[in-house]
Amino acid sequence: MELIAEILISIILVVAGIFGLVGSYGLVKLPDAMTRLHAPTKAATLGVGGVLIASLIWFLVLSEHHASWHELLITILIFLTAPITGLMIAKSNLHLTWLPEDLPQPPNGGQWATFDEGKIPPALQEEHDPESLRGD
């Protein structure tokens, strides 16, 4: 059992390491900002995920300490947040370097959210009352 775990951990670690490296390498190698976005959000995710899984197994099976499920939690957190960071950076890219004309348009007319200026209807702005927002 322990040997299996040891082998398993080693394999996962090596694989995770490779993915981690590849993720970062992609950041350097890929040609433009949008493509570079793919490398880390994916590979680093699995890289870290692998390390966390390895750690999980380690504490489950081999460690002197009792079992630890913490790594699972971190994995969940990373998986929950990685798409959002990807989205935000993608939007930043669009905002900084892309024109709406160079993108495919949304099917129902309108515009992609990033390019849509001045969307708040004037009626809503009236509720602005700085005093009420003092945070106090």
Partner: protein
């Protein structure tokens, strides 16, 4: 009444699970505490999540999660291959538009998240009315196929879960 006590039952369950993971050791006392947390924290944060999404089918959810995890593993291998071996000049990045049948923000978010976590695609933006997603593909010689694949493989299932 029950609805007011559990504004987000799934969230409550998740929090119980998270607490137990954090405590890292099973004990009934911890479970009691976890339940207390599972009730109070969603209550505290309920104002920030005003309307509760309708979700149904635990089995469907679990199978969706399993499928995504598998896809992620595959995605990573594919992306690694592209990063390592595909010369930049042969790379065919593309933007694709995914018109949405999903209406609930939660469902759209799950879809966008799935897209980002899976092979070679990143959700980049949402249309202003929320009826389409803009997705960037790392290497998509055939963008339409990617779009159809996403709609069929993920959106369809999410429609079943959320509607």
């Amino acid at each position: 009444m029950l609805r007011r006590l559990f504004p987000h039952p799934l969230l409550s369950a998740l929090l119980v699970l998270i607490w137990m993971l954090l405590v890292n050791r099973f004990a009934w006392g911890s479970l009691v505490f976890a339940v207390i947390i599972g009730i109070t924290v969603p209550l505290l944060t309920a104002p920030y999540w005003p309307d509760r999404p309708r979700v149904s089918g635990l089995g469907r959810i679990l199978s969706y999660i399993g499928m995504v995890i598998w896809d992620i593993v595959v995605a990573n291998v594919q992306v690694a291959r592209i990063v390592l071996f595909l010369p930049n000049k042969d790379l065919r990045p593309a933007f694709i538009v995914i018109p949405l049948r999903l209406k609930s923000p939660e469902a759209i978010t799950v879809l966008a998240g799935t897209i980002t976590l899976t092979p070679g695609t990143v959700s980049c933006d949402c249309s202003e009315d929320g009826h389409a997603l803009l997705v960037h593909c790392l290497h998509a010689p055939d963008p339409d196929a990617v779009r159809d694949d996403i709609k069929a493989r993920y959106e369809q299932r999410l429609v079943e879960i959320f509607e």
